[in-house]
């Protein structure tokens, strides 16, 4: 069985996906099958990037898609595209899994964090190597070093901004603003409008 990889961004998946979600909310399994074909690749790719463990990633991706089925009625077009809604759910779930898997106590958590320290350069490289969209890669390169590290560690690794600050040894306030101005620069570079 062949399946297409979906690499279209949220902009290209506008009204169709939204209509399909409306049908899904009314229990239409065929519509859900089409939703899966459109978003499945991005959902699994994102979850796998954050979690890295393939088996756990498939499990979480299944949970995300199941949540899309169950709560399709909760989607509000006024808050953004259907694609963005689904990918936000996926990121939320992946991040929750990463944080619950991490050590329960602060000390262990800190140790786990420090263990990851050398990872961030490598992280950015791996992620960039897998980027299928030239445009996203180009726009990431257009960020300052600190913006790029902050955004990729938070998004692709699921780190909280306090952890990003600790890892990069910069003040909390700096990370907060870098996450925001980094994303704003990406938004402008990618021409995202909603």
């Amino acid at each position: 069985m062949k399946e297409a990889v979906h690499i279209g961004g949220p902009a290209s998946a506008g009204p169709d996906l939204q209509e399909l979600l409306g049908l899904v909310a009314r229990g239409d399994q065929d519509a859900f099958s089409q939703v899966y074909d459109t978003v499945g690749g991005a959902v699994l790719g994102l979850v796998r990037t954050v979690l890295r463990d393939p088996a756990q990633s498939e499990e979480v991706a299944q949970e995300v898609l199941l949540e899309v089925w169950k709560s399709a009625a909760r989607y509000r077009p006024s808050r953004g595209s259907a694609m963005t809604w689904i990918l936000t759910l996926a990121h939320r779930r992946a991040v929750d899994r990463v944080r619950s898997a991490q050590a329960a106590t602060h000390r262990e958590r800190r140790a786990a964090l420090l263990e990851r320290t050398p990872a961030y350069d490598e992280v950015t490289e791996q992620v960039e190597a897998r980027l299928e969209r030239e445009q996203v890669r180009r726009c990431l390169r257009g960020l300052t070093e600190l913006q790029r590290q902050s955004v990729t560690l938070a998004y692709y690794r699921g780190l909280a901004y306090r952890e990003v600050a600790e890892l990069l040894s910069v003040p909390l306030g700096t990370v907060k603003t870098r996450l925001r101005d980094g994303l704003i620069r990406l938004r402008d570079c990618l021409g995202v409008s909603v």
Binding site: A73, V136, A160
Partner: protein, 249 residues
């Protein structure tokens, strides 16, 4: 935290990088801050682009598993937008009080009616529960660690997929694009033990895209087939199979 500081959290918020307390605080702030809401919409869409950039081709089995699980999962009912909810529920309460009064009056007038309705409702629930159990079993086969997936093309361009778990001794059959069977006919599934065909269940004729648990244990079956049979099914195939598939060992 003052409002200016909160506005700076849009980026960390869409990246799920805030602490639970800050996340909650920001969400309280959001409805009253149109410019924050707009920025959140834009930055969330931007983050979505980062996700699309790392898309992969999911394994075929993932879709089968997800499709099987959704058929066993109840959906949330549609939500009424918050502003009209209060009025809506008041109308609902008034209506149900009216309906209750009406049914009490009807029961007084027609005796057994209320009881019969109750019985019917319970039957429907039993049917739903049976379907639910069956769907869960189906999901179990599809999610089994030893599940193997074989796909084949049926006549008329339909696609059939059989998923076998030797560990559970169960198999599932999924089909898409199958035309409705001719009037008075039904699609029947078979396990093949060498040359001997053993009945493995009838497909729901009203459902052209479906997944079903095959009846009976897989045992040593070497293959499976699908034929068109008279309604009610047959003990032995009476027509040429639409497809025969080998089962993985």
């Amino acid at each position: 935290m003052n409002t200016g500081d909160l506005h700076l959290l849009t980026g960390a918020y869409v990246l799920h990088a805030l602490s639970p307390e800050e996340h909650a605080e920001f969400e309280r702030h959001l409805p009253g801050c149109p410019s924050c809401s707009q920025e959140v919409r834009e930055l969330a869409a931007t983050a979505g682009r980062l996700a699309s950039a790392v898309a992969v081709t999911p394994p075929a089995a993932l879709k089968l598993q997800v499709m099987a699980r959704i058929s066993a999962e109840r959906q949330e009912p549609p939500q009424i937008p918050r502003q009209s909810r209060r009025g809506g529920s008041r109308a609902g309460r008034a209506l149900s009080r009216f309906a209750l009064a009406a049914s009490v009056a009807a029961a007084a007038a027609f005796g057994g009616v209320a009881l019969w309705q109750h019985q019917e409702a319970r039957d429907a629930r039993d049917v739903a529960e049976r379907a639910q159990t069956r769907a869960e079993e189906l999901a179990g086969v599809l999610a089994a660690p030893d599940a193997t997936v074989t796909s084949g093309r049926l006549t008329d361009g339909a696609t059939g997929t059989v998923v076998v778990s030797r560990g559970r001794d169960e198999a599932a059959f999924l089909v898409s694009g199958l035309p409705e069977p001719p009037a008075g006919k039904v699609y029947q599934l078979w396990f093949a033990d060498g040359d001997v065909m053993r009945p493995a269940g009838l497909m729901d004729p009203s459902d052209s895209t479906s997944a079903m648990l095959m009846d009976g244990p897989v045992d040593g079956a070497s293959g499976m087939g699908i034929t068109v049979e008279p309604a009610g099914g047959s003990a032995q195939p009476t027509s040429e199979p639409l497809a025969l598939m080998k089962l993985p060992v």
